[in-house]
Amino acid sequence: MSGVSVTKAAQDAATTGDDLVVLSDVNKHFGALHVLQDIDLTIARGEVVVVIGPSGSGKSTLCRTINRLETIDSGAITIDGKPLPQEGKELARLRADVGMVFQSFNLFAHKTVLENVMLGQLKVRKADKAAAEEKARSLLDRVGVATQADKYPSQLSGGQQQRVAIARALAMDPKVMLFDEPTSALDPEMINEVLEVMQQLARDGMTMVVVTHEMGFARSAANRVVFMADGKIVEEATPDQFFSNPRSDRAKDFLSKILHH
């Protein structure tokens, strides 16, 4: 299917130096726990990578190191050719280019939906108010929550909140979007409305790193699946290869567990 050819394109892009996110030999500890072990991962512009693996394998940590919400002990991470800077102005600028969507939405509780989507534009991008509002409204429309603009996050369903969170991240015109289990806090009937938004984003060519166990999404939207276990990347493959014919025992074992329940 087209997934394979897109992967090819992405790999070609990688060899022509169009790598957007590059992690090389990244290590991280939490005390004695070695959460990330010699991680090498390259994400090309326009590529959609799904990260999958058992609980505690380091998926969230990996995601969070990419915008330096977690620091690393050794190795290097570059985004669009630039290494991640130390905490400060420089880092803030870089974070603005990396959108992040959290499992628990994390919408600003004291601000309306519209204000949530305008805040970064106003305070980080220094956009003017009218332009920021117009963009916020069009993004809210795009994710299907335009009518909720003046409500507070607590008045929205989980699925609506998560779509607002996606709009909030998109408002910064990010180069890459990170999703850390965006649907696992949602009631089943709301999962699809969020996945559809993400699928549309993928089709529009957004570079995405998605931690998720939603295999439907992985199969239809991902160029590549990265399987993690115990802090290591154990296997990388196309979704078709990975789900129908996993090579490692860890992946086989993991898939048999998530497929049979």
Partner: protein, 228 residues
């Protein structure tokens, strides 16, 4: 009619309202001062700079453990009479002591504001700050735009208690000659025979100041609470 005139006749010649007005001014200026300084202290205590964190912690632990009287007397004797600090010049002792009292009350109350705010900051889920950092906001922006507004909303009631305590604490300014309510009360008790009545009048005066404050802020607290 007759009876009332006789009972309250000793009030003649005392500027009761003027004294309470000084109490109100002491309270309002000190409330503003302590709110600003207390917020800065709270910012330091949760900030990333170890030196500032250390300073904030030391400040709070030292200042809230010193009796307010000691701080006010130090401001008057130490700052003014020894170091000639007048906070804006002039040679009117009354005015200078008023300013020093506001300074001392602000410095003292700020420690309590800081602690109230810090407990409010702890009620803000870490995800709020993470989402803000992920957008590219700087540390001070995260604090100013996301954390503090939510923290303040959750500590209106504790801050109301601090404000009520401050209102009553202004009486300590009498120690350095600021003619506020407690100073006048002492004067009146020395000169008049109506000991209990005088005390009751002043107690009532303070309740008139603090009770509405408490009720109003209790209402505000419900009004601004952040729903999650």
């Amino acid at each position: 009619m007759e009876a009332r005139e006789i009972v309250f006749d000793f009030l003649e010649g005392y500027d009761l309202l003027g004294a309470f007005w000084v109490t109100v001014k002491l309270t309002v200026y000190s409330a503003l001062g302590s709110l600003i300084w207390g917020t800065l202290l709270a910012g330091m205590r949760v900030g990333p700079v170890p030196l500032m964190r250390g300073f904030g912690t030391a400040y709070v632990n030292i200042v809230r453990n010193i009796p307010l009287t000691v701080i006010i007397v130090f401001a008057s004797l130490g700052l003014f009479q020894t170091l000639q600090v007048t906070l804006g010049g002039g040679d009117d002792f009354e005015v200078i002591n008023f300013r020093l009292a506001v300074l001392a009350l602000s410095l003292y109350t700020a420690a309590f504001v800081c602690e109230a705010l810090r407990s409010g900051i702890n009620t803000v889920p870490t995800g709020q700050a993470e989402a803000a950092r992920a957008l590219g906001l700087s540390f001070t922006q995260v604090l100013r735009l996301i954390i503090l507004p939510q923290a303040f909303r959750s500590v209106v009631n504790p801050l109301a208690n601090v404000l009520i305590a401050l209102t009553k604490n202004t009486t300590v300014a009498a120690a350095i000659g600021v003619v506020e309510a407690a100073y006048l009360m002492k004067d009146m008790i020395e000169a008049e025979a109506q000991l209990i009545l005088i005390s009751a009048i002043f107690a009532f005066g303070f309740i008139c100041l603090t009770l509405p404050t408490g009720l109003l802020l209790g209402w505000v607290s419900k009004k601004v609470a952040v729903k999650r």
